[in-house]
């Protein structure tokens, strides 16, 4: 439980607003469950949704970074081929 509280604090203090919201929502859900406002199945289902949303965000970052890396590879390939083409012209 201590580890969960630590993780939630880390989430809430994250630079990412999306993750901050997820942290707040998890905390709210657990608090509502503790004071009896929502039954366990609803709390579980809500937490499963948040887990999926965090996983989706992780994949979004992955796609964004891979797209950036791909762009750099494309530019380097063009640069290399243009450089060699110029070299041939000089010959």
């Amino acid at each position: 439980m201590d580890e969960l509280i630590m993780l939630l604090n880390e989430l809430k203090n994250s630079d990412d607003k999306y993750l901050q919201n997820c942290g707040k929502n998890i905390e709210e859900c657990i608090a509502n469950f503790e004071n009896g406002s929502i039954p366990e199945p609803l709390c579980r289902s809500y937490l499963q949704d948040i887990r999926d949303l965090i996983e989706l965000d992780r994949l979004r970052y992955k796609i964004k970074n891979l797209a950036l890396a791909q762009k750099i590879i494309d530019y380097i390939s063009i640069m290399i081929s243009n450089g060699i083409a110029n070299f041939i012209k000089k010959i």
Binding site: D52, L53, L59, I63, L66, Q70, K71, S81, I84, I91
Partner: protein, 138 residues
């Protein structure tokens, strides 16, 4: 000199081929963007339906078919599209979990349906944003 030129052409050809095959991630696809965006109004209708006692099973089947179509379309793009495939699988699982929950627990309150709707729409939006962050076709 002729031999040298041929060799250089061969090197260019090789670099071009390597450049073409080194694809870390699929490119932006307007079809994927459209498929995901078109899903949203149907999802909204279904979640509003969950607040009533009537469940239109035909409609649920139709949406499941749409998910299956989207997934098979994404899978056809190959391995460099795996993160997008994974995202759509997660959304489909979330949608199916919500159906199961609604069928086993009965009618949802408007407030609860709105929370669940917000979650699944956020999930679709994240997938759309991910698609938009991909590089456009050269």
């Amino acid at each position: 000199m002729k031999v040298n030129s041929s060799l250089l052409y061969l090197i260019i050809l090789l670099i071009t081929l390597v450049g073409c095959t080194t694809s870390l991630i699929s490119r932006y696809d307007p079809e994927t963007h459209r498929n995901l965006a078109y899903l949203k109004p149907d999802i909204k209708n279904i979640y509003h339906m969950y607040t009533t006692t009537n469940i239109n099973y035909e409609y649920l089947c139709k949406i499941n078919m749409v998910f299956r179509y989207i997934l098979s379309y994404e899978r056809s793009k190959g391995n460099n599209n795996l993160p997008t495939i994974k995202q759509i699988e997660i959304i489909q699982k979330m949608f199916n979990r919500h159906i199961k929950e609604r069928l086993s627990q009965g009618r949802w309150t408007i407030q609860y349906a709105n929370i669940k709707l917000n979650n699944i729409l956020t999930a679709i939006d994240v997938a759309i944003q991910s698609e938009l962050s991909k590089n456009k076709q050269r």
